[in-house]
């Protein structure tokens, strides 16, 4: 019966039926291709990381926007991203990059934020370390820490300081050319009860004093106790670097700076730093110096 449907009495092919079968065959072929494409697309969606990275990019951009808007100094907890992604901060946008995603379209997911032009942004590029074992590459987690102190925003990771130069001590570039007034001030013990800034630095109390001194014009000197630990020196370096940035931002010029270990002749139970500012610029630059101290305290945390 079937044979008769396909063949005419003469044994020739039944042309209309062949046409129908050809159509069905073509349709089945097309459906197979469609299904394969769908499975491929869904499999790509399942295994792809675009959605995850899109959420991350939005989350980070929102945090930057929020921090920029806050009328306070804030340090967020370090955020750990264990997926091996890289994070590239540009002015007004953040990109989350998956090195394993070979598609040009989705390799990096970019999302915008909005900078406040009154704020100095310390942004950067954060990538995980890759470890290759055989043919397989594995990536370490990426840590990002964000915060804002005064008009200074920073994004950093747990391994490097805010910027490579932030903790590096510049060579002393000013000298004490007169007898330091500091000695007289310190001899007045009562003055130590009234620091300009009193705060906590890694759970230790820190007291900061400022006073005008006969220095080279535009210079500041950070006096720290002779018995200071390396950590205190490090803090003083961070302060001087922040002061340099603050002076520049406020249109001032920091011509010279130095860290001077000093015998305070007192048993300082707290972390102590006395900052001498050039007499001629004391009034105009004191606020920048205090801001730099606040920033350094927050960054050091």
């Amino acid at each position: 019966m079937v044979f008769r449907l396909l063949c005419s009495k003469r044994g020739e092919g039944n042309i209309p039926l062949q046409r129908i079968l050809s159509g069905i065959l073509a349709f089945l072929l097309a459906m197979t291709l469609v299904l394969l494409t769908s499975f491929y697309a869904l499999s790509d969606l399942k295994e792809g990381t675009s959605f995850e990275r899109s959420v991350m990019a939005r989350d980070i951009a929102t945090q930057v926007d929020a921090l920029s808007s806050m009328p306070a100094n804030i340090l967020l907890d370090t955020e750990t991203y264990p997926n091996g992604y890289s994070f590239e901060f540009e002015p007004n946008s953040v990109a989350v990059i998956d090195p394993n995603d070979k598609s040009i379209k989705t390799q990096q997911i970019v999302y915008p934020f909005m900078q406040d032009l009154n704020i100095v942004y310390q942004l950067g590029y954060f990538e995980p370390f890759s470890i290759t074992t055989g043919k397989e590459s594995k990536y370490t987690a990426t840590n990002i820490k964000m915060g804002k102190t005064g008009d200074y925003f920073f994004a950093t990771n747990a391994y490097t300081p805010v910027d490579e130069e932030a903790f590096s001590c510049p060579p002393a570039s000013t000298s004490l050319n007169t007898k330091s007034l500091l000695i007289k001030q310190i001899s007045n013990r009562a003055a130590l009860a009234q620091p300009d800034i009193k705060n906590l630095l890694k759970n230790a109390e820190i007291a900061i004093f400022t006073y005008p001194e006969e220095l080279q014009e535009g210079s500041i000197v950070a006096y720290i106790p002779k018995t200071a630990l390396d950590e205190r020196v490090r803090f003083a370096c961070l302060f001087l670097n922040r002061a340099s940035a603050n002076f520049q931002k406020n249109g001032l010029s920091l011509e010279g700076r130095a860290i001077v270990p000093f015998d305070f002749d007192i048993q300082a139970t707290q972390i102590l730093m006395v900052i001498a500012i050039d007499k001629s610029t004391y009034e105009s630059s004191r606020q920048s110096v205090l801001d730099a101290v606040t920033e350094a305290i927050n960054l050091y945390g």
Binding site: G13, F27, D65, S68, M114, D116
Partner: protein, 188 residues
């Protein structure tokens, strides 16, 4: 003229090629494209954070020390209920929100005092597009009852008004009303 589809003996190999070609063009490519568009839309829709972003930027104008409000020079404290007239200008807003960003946002700030009414804009062109067609959201995110309603509309406006004191550089203080309208365009 030779029929490309039918030979004398029936369907040719060329016909199959043509059928597959048409299937690919008419079915496969649109279907594939459709799936990709749906996936992209689904990702953008589910990861949508525009509401929150807009509120954060709205509150930047309302609370940031770099905004139009008075900051005590000694205490360095900003008072959101005191408008510093010397800062009430478009330059302040343009410094507060970088126009280089791709975030679509616009503001209209109106300060009404018994003596004067002052209006300043940020991204005025966008604001004038948004204002006639907007859906108004409440001034606080927590007051939104139906988030889906706002997800559907492209242009949205957040408005608030409250009494303030206008502080002049001379130290003179005048009571007034500050009206803040923020217009947003939902992007991808």
């Amino acid at each position: 003229m030779a029929d490309p589809i039918m030979s004398k003996k029936g369907t040719t190999f060329g016909a199959y090629i043509l059928m597959i070609f048409l299937t690919v063009v008419l079915v496969l490519i649109p279907f594939n494209g459709g799936i990709q568009v749906l996936v992209a839309k689904a990702i953008a829709y589910n990861a949508d954070s525009h509401n929150l972003e807009h509120y954060i930027l709205f509150h930047r104008v309302m609370e940031s020390p770099n905004s139009i409000f008075y900051t005590d020079p000694v205490l360095q404290r900003t008072y959101p209920s005191r408008v510093d007239i010397s800062k009430f200008n478009e330059e302040t807003l343009e410094k507060l929100m970088d126009k280089g960003s791709k975030t679509s946002i616009s503001f209209k700030l109106t300060l009404k005092t018994p003596e004067d009414t002052k209006e300043i804009f940020y991204n005025k062109n966008l604001y004038e597009i948004i204002e006639p067609t907007h859906a108004t959201r409440p001034a606080f995110l927590s007051e939104i009852n139906d988030p889906m309603h706002y997800k559907r509309s492209k242009f949205q406006l957040i408005q608030t008004s409250y009494p303030v004191t206008a502080v002049y550089p001379s130290g003179r203080e005048i009571p007034g009303i500050l009206i803040v309208s923020a217009g947003f365009e939902r992007t991808a």
